[in-house]
Symmetry: C2
Subunit: 348 residues, 2 copies
């Protein structure tokens, strides 16, 4: 660790004023010989001079800091999304603060205040589950932020703020259509959390699409697995005993738990039962490589969120009108994509 | 989104000077009536006034920003470590910038420069694999940083910088001892990356401890699985065909791949072969809940790194001596812990 090189150090080493050094290093016009200019740049380089972003921020009113508030960075889907968003920000010279709300509304509120004090240039906000149930408080907290906010992945349909996410309803429909086309009629569903709009949308899309094809899910086979491996594992027996020929799990982890139990009972997928998961996140670990699943196109989601953010930052800088965007939020619902692997079979 | 409330706004609303507002809100002594003081605080609250951290940073020389440079936030181990470090920082009022080096030395260098420009107060640095092989460049880059750096998880034994990590050599020893105590002599090993000190240490500890007990690993059973699920899966046949009674996988993902292949061949763990993994990260997903594995105590690792950081930040603030710590780095090698589950059996 060394002491930070300042403009003063460069000035001393080159025998000119601090102002001259500043003007030269910022490429502003100043009456100084080409030789001196070269010397100043060379010395600054030798001394490892790095411009002070904090001082610059006070002048430009831009911190070049963005923040991402995530419910839980250990969740595979959010970890992957965080990585893609960080990539996008980094390519534009922004640093990304990442913080965990642990799905708690209180922590979320505190972090929003902390971000506001930091003068971040923008916030990617994945709302906590609590705020997803009732967004009233979050809405007023977001309205008080002085930087642009892009709701990410959750609360996308509410349209009170810029938002981008995957169309979970459509994802559920895709799963239903594949089962219908493969001739299945005796179908089970293991859904995710009760308190989460995205989970409900996946299931609603699935149920509605089956309904269009005059198929209903037996209430006994309408299961709940809390998005956990154990949830899939524990509900498997009921489904396997029922004679259902197909099951839709609202995430890949539950599908993995389900197939673990099926294997233990010496049942095969898809010979004995067809299986569709959701998220396509286990493939990156090499796990569950035979699972048909719904992909949310995380890189594209990160790109959409980032594009909205950059638009708003430019708009704010141009000062054309005061904060017009809350009245006209941009929304992007991305199409999920079916990843066909070997876990669904066609029956007559 | 609203316009940011400034000291000026509060001054206007209360009919006093900006200086008075500043003094009152920062609890500095000033000659102003108790009534006026209350009014200023109330108005500031009503107007949602938040102190400007950027302006404050220029005065205090502290940004209250820390950074974590991570090879890949999608890696389960690093995601978990990042979460724990963020928790520690957040409890102290710091925000944490997280950036991915993608294990590349070039990206790493660029990010170090970006962090330096941002006046971060400290850096948790998990070196890239490239820098792990040869740390010469990284060493001089770190020496040029004007903030404290704590090497995290990697390069801990080199002792040129504060560092905390888990003792991987000891972890390998633990695995060997368990097999020896259970009576195994025909033993296989699937190791991780060739280019990574931690992976090599795990294997070295394992091999050395077996050696003390006069057991050597057949070169045919000395396998390499690149830390990937596929790596464990693909080397499984060779090991299962050899008649080995036990296998140590240098991470849990490879152990999972290995057991997948064993299941496909209708072989059971531990009846047909005993298995030990490393990391204890799959358990949080509910996967591989029967796997005996070595836990690196991630929360404790985060606490150690954070404690070193806070010490250095205090030391720097007290200005007792210029940057003494590079000459006397603190190092912490945490003891790994064996998590005994059902995947190892005792043989006569």
């Amino acid at each position: 660790m060394s002491n930070r090189t300042t403009l003063r150090d460069v000035a001393k080493a080159t025998g000119v004023s601090i102002t001259t050094v500043s003007l030269v290093l910022n490429n502003h016009p100043t009456r100084v010989s080409e030789e001196k200019r070269e010397l100043i740049k060379r010395k600054a380089n030798e001394l490892n001079y790095v411009p002070n972003q904090t001082a610059r921020s006070l002048v430009t009113k831009r911190s070049m800091l963005l923040a991402l508030l995530v419910p839980d960075i250990e969740n595979l889907f959010f970890a992957s999304l965080a990585k893609e968003i960080e990539d996008e920000c980094s390519a534009d010279g922004y640093s990304l603060i990442i913080a965990n709300s642990n799905d708690s509304k209180n922590t979320e509120r505190q972090l929003l205040q902390q971000f506001e004090a930091r003068n971040i240039d923008g916030l990617f906000l994945i709302p906590s589950s609590e705020s997803t149930k009732d967004s009233t408080d979050l809405r007023s907290e977001v309205a008080q932020m002085s930087c642009p906010v892009v709701l990410t992945d959750r609360l996308v349909r509410e349209q009170w703020c810029d938002a981008a996410g995957s169309d979970n309803y459509q994802g559920g429909q895709l799963a239903a259509r594949l089962f219908v086309e493969a001739g299945h009629t005796h179908i089970a569903c293991i859904s995710g959390r009760h308190d989460n709009g995205n989970a409900e949308a996946r299931k609603a899309g699935f149920v509605d699409e089956l309904g269009k094809n005059h198929i209903t899910i037996d209430p006994q086979l309408d299961c709940y697995g809390a998005y956990r491996f154990d949830g899939g594992y524990q509900t498997a027996d009921r489904i396997l005993d029922s004679g259902a020929t197909a099951v839709f799990c609202c995430n890949d982890l539950m599908a993995l738990g389900f197939s673990k139990r099926a294997e233990e009972r010496n049942l095969s997928i898809p010979e004995d039962i067809s299986l569709i998961g959701y998220d396509n996140v286990l493939n990156s670990l090499g796990i569950a490589s035979n699972l048909t699943t719904i992909d949310q196109d995380i890189p594209q989601l990160a790109k959409s969120c980032h594009a909205y953010m950059m638009n708003r930052i430019k708009q704010k800088a141009s000062k054309l009108s005061p904060a017009p965007w809350l009245n006209d939020p941009q929304t992007s619902l991305l199409k999920p994509k079916m990843i066909i692997k070997g876990s669904v079979r066609t029956i007559k």
